[in-house]
């Protein structure tokens, strides 16, 4: 069994590995230099969680932002979904990712939503988001405190398409989480699999039933140790690009090893989990088993149910402190998800986003945006109902919800629709609409979020400084 200490960041680990097997300089290790120096980790007593929920295809721009900055009073019809949790949210206007401007179309806006960089135009050979995403940066430094460093979820499989007209692989439109600039984080699209992965043995299915009975589940360490040895043997015989792929594999092996260690620790010294959370687990387990596999488009009603489950899985993961970092995509960019289960909506999402200012289509586009906001508002309400000491789970979280474009009709990357639920451990003065100067980097906000999680970075991608208004 491995005896390595995992209380070091993954990045440090990669560097150690590089030294051990004399790797050539790889971009996988170099790209995070966007930050200048390593972030400083200041662990917090009360964990602060971060989730980012991505809505594809933008939003009807006329029904999102309140007219005036300041305390939230009357909300436009989409953000009115947050009425019950109005005092717990912050609406922010004026943010954008300038790195997403140069390439037209949808895809360039998605992959960089949480990284503030620019993608490389490619059908696949040079896949590169330009930088690590904020959630993954946080996971690499804070993931050591939880059983899983982060979770990435969606309801749709990645769009399997290379757009020959714009010479881009649709992979860019299917990933907001990038653990390195060249490694998109694969998302779990099946609620049952997502649930079992998080809560194995706690209402989730027990995997590895086929394993010899005399071996503990974590005896996989002997297999993983073998893999590390075996890879070192192969590595010396590979070209540089292949070594990058192998590094990606090794990073995954170490992640899983680290997880096994965390499970052992968890069994030895179970940390305090709200008994109510443990009671809620089997109930959600039942539900995920009923709805069945994800990744498909065929049944719109099942889609709505799967979305709700994925959001509940995030809630439970946060509540049980199984992870503190999560991303979820309601769909891939250019999603044609059929929303005919909403009354008055006849078409697919992307079609409606190209409304051409036609009143009927704008109204359907509004309703689709409203449905998304309602799902998120529901999550906020459920998080608010969960007590953590004197505060609530929502208080101790920052749940970012929005899109990489504003008006889908024009693929407009300015003034992104952004709302944050929760106060990051009572550090955000919520209940307000903050209006930033036009073209304020989204990364200013992301840097602030990282700081509130206990990760101090001097600069995140194109950030120019903190969003001072956030603290009130």
């Amino acid at each position: 069994m491995s005896t390595r200490s995992w209380h070091i960041s993954r990045r440090t680990m990669l560097r150690g590995l590089g030294a051990a097997v004399a790797l050539p300089l790889l971009d996988v290790m170099e790209a995070p230099t966007l930050f200048g120096a390593d972030p400083k980790v200041v662990p917090r007593k009360q964990p602060v969680r971060f989730a980012a929920l991505y809505m594809p295809n933008g939003v009807n721009p006329h029904h999102w932002s309140p007219a005036m900055p300041g305390p939230l009073s009357e909300l436009p019809s989409i953000t009115a979904a947050f009425e019950k949790v109005k005092s717990e949210i912050t609406l922010i206007s004026g943010l954008c990712n300038k790195g997403s401007f140069p390439l037209d179309g949808h895809y360039a806006k998605v992959a960089v939503w949480l990284s503030g960089t620019s993608i490389t135009k490619t059908t696949g050979a040079d896949l590169n988001s330009g930088g690590i995403s904020a959630d993954q940066l946080a996971a690499q430094f804070l993931g050591q405190y939880t059983r899983l460093p982060s979770i990435e979820l969606s309801t749709h499989n990645p769009t399997n398409f290379v757009d020959n007209n714009v010479k881009l692989t649709a992979l860019y439109g299917s990933h907001i989480s990038w653990s390195t600039p060249t490694t998109p984080q694969t998302r779990e699209t099946d609620p049952k699999a997502a649930f079992d992965r998080l809560f194995r043995g706690q209402g989730g299915a027990d995997a590895g039933a086929a394993r010899p009975k005399a071996l503990n589940p974590w005896d996989d360490s002997s297999v993983l140790d073998f893999v590390l040895d075996d890879s070192a043997g192969l590595k010396g015989r590979l070209g540089v690009n292949d070594q990058r792929k192998l590094d990606e594999y090794l990073t995954s092996v170490r992640d899983v090893e680290r997880r096994i260690q965390a499970e052992i620790k968890h069994v030895k010294e179970p940390h305090r989990v709200d008994p109510a959370a443990l009671r809620a687990l089997p109930e959600l387990g039942e539900r995920v088993r009923k709805v069945g596999g994800g990744g498909r488009f065929d049944n719109p009603q099942a889609y709505a149910e799967r979305v709700r489950m994925m959001l509940d899985i995030i809630l439970l993961a946060f509540w049980t402190d199984s992870t503190r970092i999560a991303t979820f995509m309601f769909g891939n960019e250019v999603s044609g998800q059929n929303f005919s289960f909403i009354e008055g909506v006849k078409g697919g999402h992307h079609d409606m986003s190209h409304h051409e200012n036609n009143a009927d289509k704008l109204e359907q586009y509004r309703k689709i945006g409203l449905w998304h906001a309602q799902q998120v508002a529901g999550l906020f309400e459920r998080m608010k109902a969960i007590k953590e000491g004197k505060d609530t789970l929502l208080d101790n979280s920052m749940v970012l919800f929005g899109s990489g474009i504003r008006d889908g009709n024009a693929h407009d990357p300015h003034n992104l629709p952004i709302v944050i639920g929760g106060s990051g451990g009572k550090t955000i003065a919520t209940g307000r609409h903050i209006v930033c100067k036009n073209e304020t980097p989204m990364c200013n906000l992301l840097g602030d979020i990282l700081a509130r999680m206990g990760l101090q970075v001097d600069k995140f991608a194109d950030s120019t400084g903190p969003l001072k208004e956030l603290a009130g």
Partner: protein
């Protein structure tokens, strides 16, 4: 473009230039240059001339055709920029008229096409360490362990890249999420496999040494097949460490061996198709076992069989004659169905339809159910399998008097005869259908949910059949309504004509729309119709920019048959991309041309084309990328 690629390309071209002899080109290309050069001066020199060299490109240095021929890669890039509509830039003072763009492109293509193959330095391209994709994992487990459990169906879906295929090495990742599932899959399949398949050797007695030697024999026999190559003693010793661990824990012998074999199934040598680097930087001939794996994963999406391993051991798999014999043998094997199944749907861009991401409006077409979708997407795959089995011409994909149907597909078309799930060949009653253009899956995938789209169909035809994709429309351009248009005053054709009156749109739409109108008799779900939603008779005529006119799908197909060499090259590019697991680059031009010519010589037969790919230079060779430290990601460009 990444920062790294031009640099790598530059180093690479320096390496090649040393060997390159001046190519010889046809005389008419030389004559054309005198006419082309003033256009380059007018549209390009301002940014790519002696004063400014944006992107390091100076076209003013090109003073004669010889200069063009010295740097084909540069001109592949020029061609790409023209084709994508990226150059001259949108903000240029003088926009490039569409016909002049076509003329420039035609000249560059012609020039590049007529370079003398014999004198060109060749580049086999780089294939990245290739993780087995879901289908390859399932099939490999099936052939290795004789268990058909399809565990990879539970893995996260693979993304696509390169030519648009999910076996593109660069876009296959191995995230922690997948690794966890691989561990579980290994447990499951090993528990289900029979001891003889695992090469489990029973120890003669219970002495630790005897047990270990028996385990070693198992490891050696199993790993050789699992890794698809001879295995070094050190590798077996590493596996035995896992067995030793189980022995220490007093695990039953057979369980211990299984646990050790699980390690083999988690080894990168099993999960990845590794092609080992050679010491020298540059192109090299692939090894025997690497060739065996390339052949088997191309034709079977699975591991090599005993016959291929034997030929690899005899060092015969670089012999073109042996390769051709093997291709013929392998295509006769039922496992070759994998090629038709995995290639066809992705080539025809049907996967979005199959998954339900796009498709007919379920309220308007409730009968277009998931089983119907899947059956209709099976039609082109069965058709392709028929081309392989029947040694037929790929031109049948453009025009044929037959297709393949199973019960579900026949019901959809209203044809009697076929029943059940198996596809069979069916003679078509009239010339309206035939080839892929008459297939409902293609027609539905190229429609909007509520109405047909001559634009989507034309765009699809240009991109898939003719490999001449059009650049994307400018942002904010007005679009036509996507409903069925029953309430519109004018026909779709009239509305599109109005749209085309804008000269900014006409350049591309005069090429796109007429092709699509030829298929207007097919509705959203591919049914034949003679009236549109407004009750007006369908006008299925079209005139192409060159002046050729046609009416209806049968005549359109004849026009496309006239472009059979363009189609053959388009098809070759896609199949080559699939075979190699990488995108097709400018340096592949010569290979694609040769494969297409070989196929044409043999009656355009698909097996001949497949053989030409399997014996081609990039299929039998590879290159090691020079080790270039990649630059850190640049800060985003400020917005204008």
């Amino acid at each position: 473009m990444s920062c790294a690629r031009p640099l790598a390309a530059l180093l690479w071209s320096i390496a090649l230039v040393a060997f390159a002899v001046r190519p010889v080109v046809a005389a008419d290309a030389a004559a054309g240059f005198a006419e082309i050069r003033p256009q380059l001066e007018k549209y390009c020199y301002e940014c790519h001339g002696d004063k400014k060299q944006k992107g390091g490109v100076n076209l003013a240095k090109v003073k004669s055709l010889d200069d063009v021929q010295r740097d084909p890669a540069q001109w592949e890039d020029v061609l790409q920029q023209l084709r994508d509509g990226e150059m001259p830039p949108k903000a240029a003072k003088e926009p490039l008229a569409p016909d002049l763009r076509d003329k420039l492109m035609a000249w560059v293509e012609h020039t590049l096409d007529t370079l003398d193959a014999g004198t060109l330095a060749r580049d086999p391209g780089r294939v990245t360490l290739h993780r087995l994709n879901r289908i390859e994992y399932n099939n490999t487990i099936r052939d290795l362990l004789d268990v058909d459990l399809r565990p990879a169906d539970q893995f996260p879906a693979d993304g696509v890249g390169g030519g648009g295929f999910d076996n593109n090495a660069d876009t296959l990742f191995l995230p922690p999420l997948l690794l966890e599932k691989l561990v579980e899959a290994a447990n499951t399949v090993l528990a289900a496999a029979k001891p003889e398949r695992l090469a489990i050797v029973k120890p003669a007695d219970d002495k630790p040494k005897t047990r270990r030697e028996a385990a070693r024999a198992s490891a050696a026999a199993f790993a050789k097949r699992a890794y698809r190559r001879p295995v070094a003693p050190g590798e077996i010793e590493r596996l035995l460490k896992v067995f030793d661990y189980c022995e220490k824990k007093n695990i039953a012998y057979e369980d211990g061996v299984r646990h050790m074999l699980k390690a083999a199934l988690m080894s990168p040598s099993f999960l990845y198709r590794a092609e080992e680097a050679r010491k020298q930087v540059g192109a090299f001939e692939l090894g025997q076992y690497e060739m065996a794996a390339r052949l088997s994963y191309f034709l079977w999406s699975s591991m090599p069989d005993e016959a291929l391993f034997a030929l690899a051991e005899q060092k015969k798999l670089q012999d073109p004659k042996v390769i051709a014999e093997q291709v013929a043998r392998m295509l006769k094997d039922p496992k070759a169905k994998a090629l038709a199944q995995n290639f066809t749907g992705q080539w025809l861009l049907l996967e979005q339809l199959r998954s339900g991401a796009v498709g007919p409006d379920p309220q308007k077409y409730p009968e277009f159910t998931q089983p119907v979708r899947e059956a209709l997407c099976g039609e082109p795959a069965a058709f392709m399998a028929g081309l392989i089995d029947g040694n037929r011409s790929i031109l049948d994909l453009i025009d044929s008097d037959y297709t393949w149907m199973n019960g579900e597909v026949a019901r959809w078309y209203g044809v009697s005869g076929p029943s059940g799930g198996e596809f069979q060949e069916v003679k078509l009653p009239d010339a309206n259908r035939g080839g892929v253009l008459g297939m409902a899956a293609v027609l539905a995938a190229t429609s909007h949910p509520q109405r047909t789209s001559p634009v989507l169909r034309g765009k699809w035809l240009l991109a898939v059949v003719l490999n001449a994709p059009t650049p994307p429309p400018p942002a904010n351009v007005a679009q036509l309504a996507k409903d069925d248009g029953a309430k519109e005053e004018q026909s779709l054709r009239k509305r599109l004509e109005k749209h085309r009156a804008d000269p900014g749109c006409a350049g591309c739409h005069s090429r796109i729309d007429p092709l699509g109108f030829g298929l207007e008799n097919f509705d959203v779900v591919g049914a034949w119709r003679t009236q549109d939603a407004r009750g007006e008779a369908i006008d299925n005529t079209g005139t192409l920019p060159g002046g050729a006119s046609f009416s209806g799908p049968a005549e359109l197909r004849k026009i496309l048959l006239g472009k059979k060499d363009q189609f053959t090259r388009a098809f070759t590019e896609k199949l080559l991309s699939y075979a190699l697991g990488r995108g097709i680059e400018g340096y592949d031009r010569q290979t694609v041309k040769e494969i297409a010519q070989a196929a044409a010589k043999d009656g355009y037969r698909l097996p001949a084309l497949i053989t030409a790919i399997a014996t081609s230079y990039p299929f039998r060779n590879a290159r090691v990328a020079p080790i270039v430290p990649l630059a850190p990601a640049a800060a985003p460009e400020p917005a204008k």
